[in-house]
């Protein structure tokens, strides 16, 4: 009789251990999946930022053909672009992106003074590509932030919070930009 009791106790303990272990594995896997979705969303942001940055030499070359004396803006843009390329963290990236954004919008203000440039077909296409890329960045940014929100909530809430620390999952940084930089430059030709 006593033998059986021990067996039952042993069985229950074993069951609990197995259940606990598989729960742990499930938690861990789902955290990994979430973190990967954050990484995936970030790579899309990065992708679009890269594309944005790559468009700029074309834009500068086009404008330079018309506006040779505006050297200050051109060097500002080159600097901001270099900073974006060297940005490490999400916060740094967001900051250098804003700088690039403001330099480019200064350039676009200058363009206003050159009507023949504004009506240039090549420039119009370039402007469209630029606006489209802005918009893609906005979409990618939004999706990234949404995935960060899910992930961060998960690792901070019970029970995820138990494992997150121990497994080395840290809260991820949002890609936040100021209201001014959020504005998508609009193409308007008349």
């Amino acid at each position: 009789m006593k033998k059986y009791t021990w067996l039952i106790v042993l069985g229950v303990v074993l069951l609990v251990v197995i259940a606990g272990f598989s729960w742990y594995v499930g938690q861990r896997n789902s955290l990994i999946a979430l973190e990967e979705s954050v990484n995936g969303a970030w790579s899309e942001v990065d992708n679009q930022l890269q594309r944005r940055s790559d468009l700029i030499p074309n834009l500068v070359a086009t404008v330079q053909g018309f506006a040779t004396q505006e050297q200050q803006v051109f060097s500002d843009i080159a600097n901001a672009r270099a900073r974006l390329a060297g940005a490490g963290s999400v916060g740094e990236t967001a900051e250098s992106y804003e700088q690039l954004q403001s330099a480019v919008s200064r350039l676009l203000v200058i363009v206003e003074n050159y009507p023949e440039l504004r009506s240039n077909q090549n420039f119009m296409r370039l402007q469209d590509e630029l606006a489209g890329t802005e918009n893609r960045i906005a979409v990618a940014r939004q999706r990234y932030n949404r995935s960060v929100q899910t992930f961060n909530a998960r690792i901070r809430m019970f029970p995820g919070s138990i494992f997150a620390n121990q497994l080395g999952f840290g809260a991820r940084e949002y890609f936040e930009i100021s209201e001014a930089a959020r504005e998508v430059p609009r193409v308007q030709f008349n």
Binding site: S37, N58, G65, G132
Partner: protein, 272 residues
Amino acid sequence: MKRSSKSETGRLRLRRTAIVLLALVLPVAFAGAQQLPRYRGFVNDFAGVIDGREAQAMEQLIGGLQEATGAEIAVVTVQSYEPFGSIEEFGVALASEWGVGRAGEDNGVVIILAMQEREVRIEVGYGLEGALPDGRVGAILDQQVLPAFREGRWGAGLNGAVQGVAAFVAQEYDVDLSSLGARAPRSTAPQSQTGPDGIEIILFILILFFGGGRFFWPLLFISRRRGFFGGGFGSTVASGTRSRSTFGGSSFGGFSSSGRGGFGGGGASRRF
């Protein structure tokens, strides 16, 4: 979340908690989604500005295009895109919600006209960003849509957009559009008669004559090498595949897993 298949009690409880949480959060998070109109068909004239014949012509062309290529176009007119902040936001939300285009291929295009804001946008799915780079979409808007809009001929302008988009998509899929037998009347767009090659040649000539050819010769080579103009002057097919794999590729797994076409904000908008 999906990977762990173990269904222990803890996981079940967690899932139940998650469902409860979701139920609490969802109505708030998707308040915007509820404002989106319901999909009716290829042509969704919510603003009531397209006359029957134009709508029919568009439906025929889109239907033919879809049969031949699988790519899908949706035309939408609304009085206003409120409460969305911009036509771009509205465009992505609507296109993703409706899931225009085939899953995995992400080959959908949504053409949106907002009457009150006087804005028009062509939203391009990931899979067609190679065939329809933003610059080209802008050119369609400038040449085939805005002239008609300025005269208040909404249906004709939208038809021009459909024709322009269809011509480029057909070219991408190597399909002859004229063989579809669903050719829409070309009341607005002289360019579309000559097809995409004609547009490219005209743009090329325009740049040579009006744009100061001297400056742009070197630029042409830069753009061809980097493929930013979607190969507007070079080979369309090569740069099409290139930009797709570069820009859309990483998102195939991510955003189109809902089983419908994915959109990442590509396209162009105009005020008129």
